[in-house]
Symmetry: D2
Subunit: 142 residues, 4 copies
Amino acid sequence: MSNIEQRIATSFAAQALMQTLGAKLALVADGEVHITLPFSKHLSQQHGFMHAGAITSVVDSACGYAALTKAPPEYEVVSAEFKVNLLRPALGEYFLAIGKVQNAGKSLTVCTGEVRAFAGGDASYKVVALMQATMVNVPVTA
Amino acid sequence: MSNIEQRIATSFAAQALMQTLGAKLALVADGEVHITLPFSKHLSQQHGFMHAGAITSVVDSACGYAALTKAPPEYEVVSAEFKVNLLRPALGEYFLAIGKVQNAGKSLTVCTGEVRAFAGGDASYKVVALMQATMVNVPVTA
Amino acid sequence: MSNIEQRIATSFAAQALMQTLGAKLALVADGEVHITLPFSKHLSQQHGFMHAGAITSVVDSACGYAALTKAPPEYEVVSAEFKVNLLRPALGEYFLAIGKVQNAGKSLTVCTGEVRAFAGGDASYKVVALMQATMVNVPVTA
Amino acid sequence: MSNIEQRIATSFAAQALMQTLGAKLALVADGEVHITLPFSKHLSQQHGFMHAGAITSVVDSACGYAALTKAPPEYEVVSAEFKVNLLRPALGEYFLAIGKVQNAGKSLTVCTGEVRAFAGGDASYKVVALMQATMVNVPVTA
């Protein structure tokens, strides 16, 4: 693993919410991070679909780590804000959240994200959510 | 309990994510709903603060149920989209998410939400997140 | 011109703000609309760059008309909400706003948009703004 | 006028778009700025209502100047991003855009804004738009 992959894997392992949700870090590339989330009835809203909050949690983390791949080494990244459109009910066997850097400025990084729903061992998917987010670089404190 | 309080309590109990997070429905009023969330290390991000996704989950539900108090009886409410600003690290012993209806149209309801952090048995709080959200009325399907 | 191109050209001509800004309809395709905006010092903010409001106006219209290409014939489209990230100062000789449909539902259409800045007769550009928007279909009233 | 009022009045006068739209600075207070915009058919969308872009322009400026009242003296403010909900058609004789600071951090200031429509010399109004915005402090360059 590269240095940034190692750093993100360590940080992801420390995000207890990701473990609680059952999310896994799937890919770290320059400016792009993937996180998978299997369906769980423990994460549902009232109709049994995945709650928007669970979907948002994983795509927020994917966007944040994508931003981290572009941050200076002595900085970390926190979410300043995000906006999510829920396109359809989050139905599926598992979900793939993809965060991508669109622009990395000196202090702010703008990312877009999407969450894809997969089912039936099929490679086809439906996009269930779109995110547009602003991440902010903050100096690592010892 | 009124009819709408009963309906929201039943729906909230069916939102498994709320149980997984440890959230409780605290108040249902006309156009306003409160949800509490105790701090849990199982919901943290990498620095031990509450993850933005956990915070977003409860304020999204609070806004959705606030919208439901204004929906026609044969309709339910789903989140079309929301935007969240994270104002500071979500540090506290418990959190109170407040969703309020700003405008209830025929099909769309616009809500604002905030999440307050409390600690030390003190009535004072810090606002850790602000939401602006669009909820959509959909006919109840049998 | 196709029926939808004609309909959008007529509507665009009736958007007086577009004339006030100097914007032109550049392309209408299925699910995608382009609008150009030349730089004008009458549209600036305090540093002489294009004001975010001018940039937002054209990409909002581009997204709205993109949504209209997917709306049922007896419907028109209004903006329910949008979110814009301003990536860098809007500097350039002209700007191209591109609106694209990401998902067209029964009543709501989710679009993404971007605004590109061009200068010096060069085909290269910089993206100055990103939009994520929700458009709503409303029946045409006579 | 106080120093900050003077500074904002000068900056507002330099925002050519505000003159093009016919907007006026109406109030500068600590953390809150008001801008008025009279109805003009030159700013309309296709149905003769004020275009969302014109409405957004004034509330973006109101939020930006509200943030400036909280910025350190050697800093200015630019919009990083905003989200606007359009609650109803922007019908009225004039519009009042109100920007308020919700939280002023070291580099980012979060504001909320609303636009009120007035008609008939009546003190009552309808809120036509809500904004939630992130402003960023940048050092003044000579």
